[in-house]
């Protein structure tokens, strides 16, 4: 995820301090991985340098100075361009699982057991996510669903590969 574009997008609704930006980010997108303050300030200074945000005001109290950032017109254009640009789909062509299956067949180990163990591991994670989804809010549900659909796709591949093991063994060990 582009943290810079996400922080810029959050600034579109109005100027905010770095701390508020971090809080808004964590609340909406950082369920598993909250931002470090260092990341926020490093990103903001880069955006500032590139003219995508500007300092809207500085508060100096007892502690360190607190800058309030506002998005510039160039920043708004940049967010728009990022949102309009489709994400490159993950090609999934370098599969560790495929490598393991072939190596199992080459070395005379049980590829079927390997696939079953992997299947069990995938389902275990799907259970955890389903439980989290059941107890969570809409944001949790959507994030977990995204992961669940990907895991389900992996499982379908595992199932298909299990059904084709005999065929694959002939190719791998001619």
């Amino acid at each position: 995820m582009s943290i810079g574009h996400t922080l810029l997008g959050l600034l579109e609704s109005g100027p905010r301090h770095g701390y508020d930006l971090k809080r808004a980010f964590d609340e909406k997108f950082g369920h598993d991985r909250p931002l470090h303050y260092g990341q926020v300030y490093a990103t903001m200074s880069r955006l500032l340098k590139n003219g995508l945000v500007e300092v809207d005001g500085v508060e100096s109290g007892g502690g360190p100075e607190r800058k309030r950032y506002a998005i510039t017109d160039a920043g708004i254009t940049d967010v728009g361009a990022w949102l309009a640009q489709p994400e490159k789909p993950e090609p999934y062509l370098q599969s560790t699982l495929y490598t393991k299956v072939v190596l199992a067949l080459l070395t005379g180990r049980s590829a079927a057991d390997l696939l079953d163990a992997q299947r069990s591991e995938h389902l275990r994670l799907m259970r955890v996510l389903t439980d989290r989804k059941r107890k969570g809010d809409l944001a949790d549900q959507l994030i977990c669903d995204h992961a669940l659909f990907h895991l389900e796709a992996d499982l379908r591949w595992l199932e298909l590969t299990a059904a084709r093991l005999g065929q694959l063994a002939e190719v791998v060990n001619p």
């Binding site: 079953d116 163990a117 389902l123 799907m126 259970r127 389903t130 389900e152 299990a162």
Partner: protein
């Protein structure tokens, strides 16, 4: 997997239809209040396993014990009585009685057990409320959506407080949103009533609502927790 404390245990089941073996040494167990998914490719024997466990089909060989009693040794009448009192069923297409209202469909297992209409319908209404469909109590199955009909089927399966619910592809005819809600309601209701669920499905997302799953492949049931 140890069958100790299990409610329903099947050991080394064999079943052949004509010359086709459907079960070839399948074993299975479920504990009270446990939700177990039975997975496997089409034709692997998972539905046959469910039908044997529920006493609908008699295996050619092997034993099925429910609460310490062997199902295969029971008479047809005893097995029917067991299905009425201790088991509940949900199928892919609700299989509701079209002439009865949703409330009457839900109350049916209680009525068949001799409960008076008024009492049966009061309990049935509570289940419809729990499944968030009390608004369709007076409608007939043909007048409600697929998702609503399937919730009626879930309510009907649970209304007589069974010890085991057998669900065969219960979300197979629903879109994902309705399917997920049905699974949520089925598993939550069953767990809170300490009812075991044997859930046949080929969908991983549905199986993820279970506590445990087994895979049936070529008529053999394999306990995934101990696969390797």
């Amino acid at each position: 997997m140890t069958p100790a404390g299990s409610l329903l245990v099947a050991q080394d089941l064999h079943k052949t239809y004509g010359s086709t073996p459907a079960l070839d040494g399948a074993s299975f167990s479920v504990h009270p209040g446990e939700v177990v998914a039975v997975m496997g490719p089409s034709g692997s024997g998972k539905s046959t396993l469910l039908h044997c466990l529920a006493g609908i089909v008699t295996p050619d060989a092997g034993t099925i014990t429910y609460g310490g009693r062997e199902i295969s040794a029971m008479s047809d009448a005893e097995r029917s009585a067991l299905r009425r009192t201790d088991f509940g069923f949900v199928f892919q297409f609700g299989q509701l009685v079209p002439e009865l209202t949703c409330l009457e469909n839900t109350a049916l297992p209680l009525r068949l057990n001799g409960v008076r209409r008024k009492d049966a319908e009061r309990t049935a209404r509570e289940w419809l409320e729990r499944l968030e469909i009390d608004g369709i109590a007076a409608q007939r199955p043909g007048e409600v959506s697929g998702g609503q009909g399937q919730r009626v089927a879930v309510a009907r399966a649970l209304v007589a407080s069974p010890k085991v619910v057998f669900a065969d592809e219960p979300t197979g005819a629903l879109d994902s949103l309705n399917g997920e809600r049905v699974m949520e309601l089925l598993t939550e209701s069953a767990r809170s009533a300490n009812t075991a669920v044997v859930l046949v499905t080929h969908e991983a997302r549905v199986a993820a609502y279970s506590d445990r799953d087994i895979v049936v492949r070529d008529g053999r049931a394999r306990d995934l927790e101990h696969a390797v």
